[in-house]
């Protein structure tokens, strides 16, 4: 029996960093990608669930849907100063629409172990693919 795949791994890139995420379902793979993205920004163990935000996204295909959703989350981080660590994701892959709840709290520079600041989601290397036992996502961020 093969070892279970990790929820996400860090994808190395000279100038930036990305995430390779896995999930049994598309929704799970999307959630793990977002968890990975925030793990690059802050130690997820230190993030409490004090606030939740409803997010929606759409896109012409799955990679666009993913990128648009991640950008939605980054927008909340930048404008409201929130970091998240858990996501309930619901995807309608026929209509290419997503609805998700993001759980987290305001950034606390004294308490949180901060990492990098992700500024954008690039289309370079972006993939949402089926794999054995579910889905695999690869995404590179601009840092």
């Amino acid at each position: 029996m093969a070892l279970p795949k990790p929820d996400f791994e860090i994808l190395e890139h000279t100038a930036d960093a990305g995430i390779v995420a896995h999930g049994a379902t598309l929704a799970e793979a999307f959630a793990h990608t977002a968890e990975g993205m925030y793990a690059l920004m802050v130690d997820p163990d230190g993030v409490r669930e004090l606030e939740a935000r409803e997010t929606v996204a759409s896109g012409q295909d799955l990679p666009h849907l993913l990128a648009n959703w991640l950008l939605e989350l980054l927008f909340l981080t930048e404008t409201e100063g929130l970091v998240f660590h858990r996501f309930d994701v619901d995807i309608d892959d026929t209509a290419m629409q997503l609805r998700a709840t993001a759980h987290g709290e305001p950034i606390d520079r004294d308490r949180h172990a901060l990492g990098g600041d992700i500024k954008g989601v690039t289309r370079h290397l972006l993939e949402v693919e089926r794999e054995d036992g579910g889905y695999r996502i690869r995404v590179l961020f601009d840092m």
Binding site: E12, T14, A15, T77, T79, G81, D117, G120, R123, H124
Partner: protein, 490 residues
């Protein structure tokens, strides 16, 4: 996406001389001009480890590209365009591409002088660095303290540095010492999304994270006394302030918004692309014009941002030294962009033509005599600011006449990474970077502890090698070298 190819660029690369290499236009289908790389053999090997050279070849396929797709010695793997690339397109039949500017529109650098010596600053260095760290918000969650209305944001987009100076955040002379006077004409706030404005509102006056920094530096070596003196640099030991940042979330959003617009436009105009992130539109098309208007707005936002940070730098020095910034001679040497597309006139053969010059991780380096060089520097040339890494040094250079003939008046923009963030952390595991820098006399403050390893000298090429190639190639010439004594990172 990379196309199926049988040829490897290494087998096709031609040596022009010790510092110039070319990939001929028949290297891959669709190339309209050759790709030229400025490098010595060692830097070429580093650039060749990843896809940067392939990316320079991809840029050569873009419609309207003139002369060469150019790569500076600090070239590295970007998205679509390589970082460290220059490409000029004819405004008649060429394209403009947001990827050729980058996410951080008008990311750039700024250098200020002081008349203080290292001995004046050393005793209060920690206090000064702490004061700067408080005054200039940086890192994840760092918010600006400027509260401006939506109408004022439109003015920032239209006027750039001048908007800040009118409000007392700077000196009128600062504008003369800023590329394009700190304001790109043709800014179109109406072409900027609400989302970009919202991101800009909370981040105006912030440094950011990653490779952005603010350093208190010491003049370490002067190579050209006459030029250095004109720029306000005198003897080794003089204290300077050097910082690097751009248009923050505002520019990123503009880039993101127009990547979508350009992806559709590329299809509509039948432009075949070897990589989606080269998405572009004809310069004269509505999409091209809208992007240039939004990009100019973001560029002006970046100049306003750096102007406001310079204001805080002066205030922080005033607070610590109890003297005015004027008394401390805190003049702006120059502010220069390294992620931008500009409409410029250049000589092509015997003709004077209008081009859209994309500088993505490349710095404008106009030589002496160019009308766009500030009057006070015109007989010397435009100052070029080239940051290294926080453990070594940075350079001040000037453009050479040959740059106008070969690189559209452009040179490198920095050292360029050689190790990914994680690789840098692995290599430096167990090493206390803050302590190591302290032992070298460098005080560092950073919100993100792991950034110290990610941004350590081991993560970067030696910028001295990069500037040396361009000096030997006759593109730019070193005037002075500065070393850090205080470092602020996001």
């Amino acid at each position: 996406m990379p196309q199926a190819q049988t040829k490897h660029w290494r087998d096709m690369l031609q040596r022009v001389d010790a510092y110039r290499w070319e990939l001929p236009a028949d290297y891959k289908p669709g190339m309209r001009v050759p790709a030229r790389i400025y490098a010595d053999e060692a830097l070429l090997d580093i650039a060749g480890e990843e896809q940067a050279i392939e990316q320079a070849a991809n840029v050569a396929t873009l419609p309207g590209i003139v002369w060469r797709s150019l790569a500076m010695p600090d070239i590295h793997w970007g998205y679509g365009f390589p970082i460290g690339g220059v490409a000029a397109m004819s405004t008649d039949d060429g394209v403009v591409s947001p990827g050729g500017v980058g996410f951080d529109i008008n990311c750039g650098t700024r250098l200020l002088t002081t008349n203080l010596g290292e001995d004046d600053v050393r005793p209060v260095l920690k206090q000064l660095v702490d004061q700067l760290f408080r005054g200039v918000p940086a890192g994840l969650g760092g918010r600006g303290d400027l509260s401006i209305s939506s109408a004022e944001m439109d003015d920032v987009m239209r006027r750039g540095s001048a908007w800040m100076i009118d409000r007392g955040f700077g000196w009128p002379e600062d504008v003369e010492a800023t590329e394009s006077g700190g304001c790109l004409a043709g800014a179109a706030p109406d072409e900027v999304s609400t989302r970009a404005r919202q991101r800009g509102h909370v981040q105006l006056g912030t440094l950011g994270a990653g490779n952005h920094f603010l350093e208190v530096q010491v003049l370490d070596a002067v190579y050209d006394r006459a030029a250095a003196s004109r720029f306000g640099l005198s003897e080794p030991g003089q204290v300077l302030v050097f910082f690097h940042c751009g248009s923050r979330g505002f520019g990123h959003q503009v880039c993101q918004d127009y990547l979508d617009v350009m992806e559709e436009a590329s299809i509509r105009y039948g432009i075949e692309l070897p990589d989606k992130q080269l998405a572009c539109a004809p310069i004269r098309s509505p999409e091209g014009q809208r992007y240039l208007g939004a990009m100019a707005a973001a560029a002006n936002f970046a100049w306003a941002n750096r102007q406001y940070i310079a204001y805080w730098v002066r205030r922080s020095f005033e607070h610590v030294f109890h003297r005015t910034a004027q008394e401390m001679g805190m003049h702006l040497v120059y502010d220069v962009a390294h992620n931008i597309a500009k409409i410029e006139r250049h000589r092509v053969g015997d003709e004077d033509v209008e081009l859209c010059v994309h500088r993505k991780g490349a710095t404008r380096a106009f030589p002496a005599g160019h009308p766009d060089v500030p009057e006070r520097y015109r007989d010397i040339g435009q100052p070029v600011l080239i940051p290294g890494d926080m453990g070594r040094y940075s350079f001040l250079a000037i453009g050479q006449p040959l740059a106008m003939q070969e690189t559209w008046g452009s040179t490198c923009h920095g050292a360029g990474r050689i190790r990914s963030r994680h690789e840098a952390k692995r290599v430096l595991k167990g090493i206390d970077i803050q302590r190591r820098l302290a032992d070298m006399g460098i005080v560092v403050r950073c919100h993100n502890r792991s950034a110290l390893a990610e941004e350590a000298s081991e993560a970067y090429k030696d910028v001295a090698n990069v500037v040396e190639v361009l000096e030997r190639a006759g593109i730019s010439r070193n005037v002075a070298k500065m070393r850090p004594m205080g470092v602020i990172k996001g």
